[in-house]
Symmetry: C2
Subunit: 591 residues, 2 copies
């Protein structure tokens, strides 16, 4: 060991001990002939004092030290003069009287500051990731991630789960995204696929009787990197046998509560976690991953205006659309410009416009219609009914979208988040979990004119809805359950199909030709014939979960070596060219 | 939950309780009008009795049950008639009086027996891996693996190590084997490589100041699958800063002892682990991964016969070769046929022949030369010296190889293992760990006429041997250490280079052009300039370690879904053809 203690360890009780520390020069100050070094390692900071009157050689050498040099210091622990105590650091009552200094390595000036929290261009951070990871914020995130994953592993192991590693070199998986492919050298012209998830394998592990499986599993999707996505990501993959939906939800709820309470200072808003049906989530929040840290719920005013003379509204309803609104509480003083901004905002999500109504105080009735983009086209009864339904109070701003249901929901749900943000309602110190259940089993894919699974190919329909698969698939519900946290889906799961006949029926329903199905999933169909237990599972996303616990804005902040938006490793420079010889061995050539 | 208890849980104290179990029909016996079912799950077996006098319906249905059906049984726990107690199973004092039976799933007759330990063709096992994994032996291995990995994780976490995930989609690594490549869709003509190990990244994690890192890491090597190899395998990857060799060896030794003692009934032969230098391992055992569970050590007789008149021996020595022998204790009665077998055995490892000498009892001198393939060519003094050096006792068989040093060592070390096996000396209940240290820094590659790193590119030479890099590289030693268990290398590690100048010098020594080095490892050279601490690490192989703890003959027995010798997933059928459309998107075509 090149040290006797780490840089976060020494206290007053170590006074007068001879110790050796090693670490990085965090900061150097020259003061009254003395040189002060804040020495840093993962565990903290310790102040080291070089005094020419005590050790001239060490002091001389110390004068050559620069930030991020790696040094080893031997010296005596001593009490700081009380007025120099630093209560902000754990070692703040002591300092080291340096007797000997060894420079273990020098350092060029880093391209950005390590020793203070400053905004740095992300390209630069990714390029020098080893320096970025040296910063306190990143160390906190990476260590939080370690603790979170450790907590999960021990929790599940204690519950009788077995962690089982599944292959990375596997076969195409049915998650709907593009696969990363790996050409085989041994089998000319053939390719492995990197798993989009271990879905098939975890079900086969249930067939194999392991009863409770989990894995912190790397998953791969070759998607365009819009938004907050990575080519590879990590999920807690898990599966259980002889259970139903309630068992998995209860277990995950206990896990998440323990996890958050042991690894975060944030407060869990609701225990037990509220449950919303898919339809309810859509009705109240306009989306199936609602942020329930705040209200501002959406309200369907279609029935109130269905017969109104206002053609914009009545046409939408006549063509099967939806008119919903929300109450922008206290925003009645918004200017024309601000209203235009909000209108542009919803237009960004496909809405044709934003109808608005300001509520004013009325000495008699309490409230009355103020300025509005549409009130004049409605009857007084209609506007009053609207204000009443949206609980409009003086100085509220009621906002409405009339459009196809999907657009009304999407644009208004986004507007709700935006206004929640403006009103400071998205409290970062709070964790608002909720379950969304009773999803549709399939969704109509208008482009391809066929049914798509709402979750995935192996999710079971509700038992009582199986007959609907033949008559009215769109009405069937699936045994799917999603866990949502602060507006992010953090886990999706389902009870699976465990019988070959039903699986084949579902393949048929979603338009998968039976021969094609056998080609791709023949091993699954076959396995189902050899005594497959009822089973189900779920897969919380580790990156997103840690991001939310850390209070970070994107998952790159909690991944040690993320790829850029163009799927590039900026540090090592991957992907790269390869030699003609390598291509030849792999039986491929470039186009 | 489809059950109240699992199949290994019920005891006498549960007598008269109404319970529900679910699991697989392990065995069915019809006996005196009753039907007995051994119901199985991961936790054990429970006997269920269907009595037509108690529940005729359940009994009727039970008569349709076959092995591996998945069923749910509700009934009453009752004490077995004492004479029917089964002490071999934990639930052996009770049985279930079945009141209700539900068939959750049927099962076709499996292609091999699940309920007894029989030899099954491995192709069949891999084809139906989900059934193979249902067998007791595999469940034991997979759960052992889980426990081993869990032990390691908690041990290291408690020691202040942080588990950090590193990318699977990365850049070519310098481990010397072939990379698996992944074509990029976004960057036409460019490829990611799957890591042969996270070597570079773990060193960069040290640069980033994490001080103690580990990861249970998936690694990939596209090698021909001779012997016991897999395209992907798992290692405990770890790295520490501010340490020297002794620190890592001490930590690993504590880890391995705790691991074995907590997860295995096997006995650790030596504590602390013995240490051998590379030269000593070669001298005594002929290889750098010696099985030290037994003696039969090799003995160099070159000095004894260097000047003998026996041309076979003297020629070998004159041309720089080596003559070594071992004492096949008690094998003096081996027949000509058995001796021919041993000769063929060493020829399989390149030896030109096997010289032998039987020791006989002599009333005066204790021992004398008996039959021998070569004794007549030597003087009496020479043969006596040889017998003495090999501690020949009456009825011993002394065996010798005279050849180039590499061949003498390789063939004799193999012969030693073979004879150890024949003599029953390789005790399966024993774990014999040892360290091998002081490896050469580089080895001469005769084919390519250059020096190859003995370990890898980033291993540091011994400080005192750095000058030898310029003058006599073959004499320099590296800071490498290997952990060997029962004749297998289970971990290889080293102290790394942490300074750019030395790293560049080593690149030069092994013939890596500086421009090429910058292209491939520029990010490492650059990182070394920003305050890189002294660091080192090691990487125990998880598959092999678990294999040895489980007492299995190959790593496929401890991997849930291994590939076949031709790198095929026999169950799912990977690798597969892919569509022209996919190839087009990836900018490649087949040759």
């Amino acid at each position: 060991m090149l040290r006797t203690h780490n840089c976060g360890q020494l206290r007053l009780e170590n006074d007068k001990q001879e110790i050796t520390l090693a670490g990085w020069v965090h900061r150097r100050r020259d003061h009254g002939g003395l040189i002060f070094i804040d020495l840093r390692d993962r565990w903290g900071l310790t102040q080291v004092v070089f005094d020419p009157a005590i050790e001239a050689t060490a002091h001389d050498l110390a004068s050559s030290l620069r930030n991020e040099y790696v040094i080893q210091v031997t010296g005596l622990v001593r009490r700081r003069p009380p007025e120099q105590d630093n209560p902000n650091i754990a070692t703040g009552q002591i300092e080291i009287e340096a007797h000997n200094l060894k420079i273990l390595n020098t350092a060029k000036t880093p391209p950005f500051d390590i020793n203070k929290e400053v905004a740095v261009d992300e390209t630069m951070r990714l390029r020098y990731r080893y320096l970025d990871l040296r910063r306190e914020r990143m160390q906190r995130n990476i260590i939080l991630r370690h603790n979170v994953v450790r907590y999960i592993r021990n929790f599940l192991s204690d519950e009788g789960f077995v962690e089982i590693e599944t292959p990375i070199l596997f076969k195409t998986t049915p998650e709907g995204a593009r696969d990363y492919l790996v050409p085989s050298r041994v089998h000319a012209g053939k390719f492995y696929a990197l798993p989009q998830s271990p879905q098939q394998l975890k079900q086969l592990i249930m067939v194999a009787g392991y009863d409770r499986y989990f894995q912190i599993a790397r998953c791969f999707r070759d998607e365009d990197q819009r938004g907050d996505r990575q080519p590879e990501f990590t999920q807690l993959d898990m599966e259980m046998s002889f259970i139903d939906r309630e068992d998995i939800m209860a277990l995950i709820e206990r896990l998440m509560i323990g996890l958050a309470e042991n690894n975060s200072a944030k407060r869990i808003l609701h225990k037990p976690f509220p449950r919303l049906t898919y339809q309810e989530a859509l009705a109240r929040f306009g989306r199936d991953n609602p942020d329930i840290r705040f209200g501002l719920e959406l309200s369907d005013i279609s029935p109130l205006v269905a017969n109104s003379g206002f053609k914009v509204f009545s046409d939408v309803i006549a063509s099967g659309g939806l008119i919903k609104g929300l109450n922008g509480t206290g925003l009645g003083s918004y200017s024309r410009k601000q209203l235009d901004e909000l209108t542009d905002f919803v237009k960004g999500f496909g809405a044709k416009g934003l109808a608005w109504l300001k509520v004013e105080a009325d000495p008699e009735k309490g409230v009355k219609v103020g300025a509005s983009s549409f009130a004049k086209f409605l009857s007084a009864e209609e506007t009053e009914a609207i204000m009443k339904q949206l609980k409009g109070q003086p100085n509220d701003l009621l906002l409405f979208v009339a459009d196809k249901a999907e657009i009304t929901n999407e644009s208004l749900s986004r507007l709700r988040l935006e206004i929640g943000q403006r009103l400071g309602l998205r409290d970062d110190s709070v964790l608002a979990f909720c379950w969304v259940i009773d999803f549709p089993f399939v969704l109509w894919n208008e482009d391809e004119k066929r049914w798509d699974p709402c979750h995935h190919l192996f999710t079971s329909p509700m038992n009582e809805d199986i007959p609907l698969l033949d008559t009215n698939p769109g009405q069937a519900r699936g045994k799917q359950y999603d866990l949502v946290l602060n507006g992010y889906e953090v886990a999706g799961g389902s009870i699976r199909i465990h019988q070959r006949e039903l699986q084949e029926k579902v393949f048929g329903l979603i338009g998968l030709d039976i021969e094609d199905a056998k080609q791709r999933f023949g091993h699954m169909l076959e396995a189902f014939q050899y005594g497959t237990p009822p089973h189900g599972g779920i897969a919380p996303g580790i990156d997103r979960l840690v991001m939310l616990l850390a209070g970070e804005p994107n998952i790159r902040e909690v991944i040690a070596f993320p790829k850029s938006q163009s799927a590039t490793d900026m540090m090592a420079g991957a992907p790269t060219d390869v030699s003609e010889e390598q291509l030849k061995e792999l039986h491929i050539r470039l186009r």
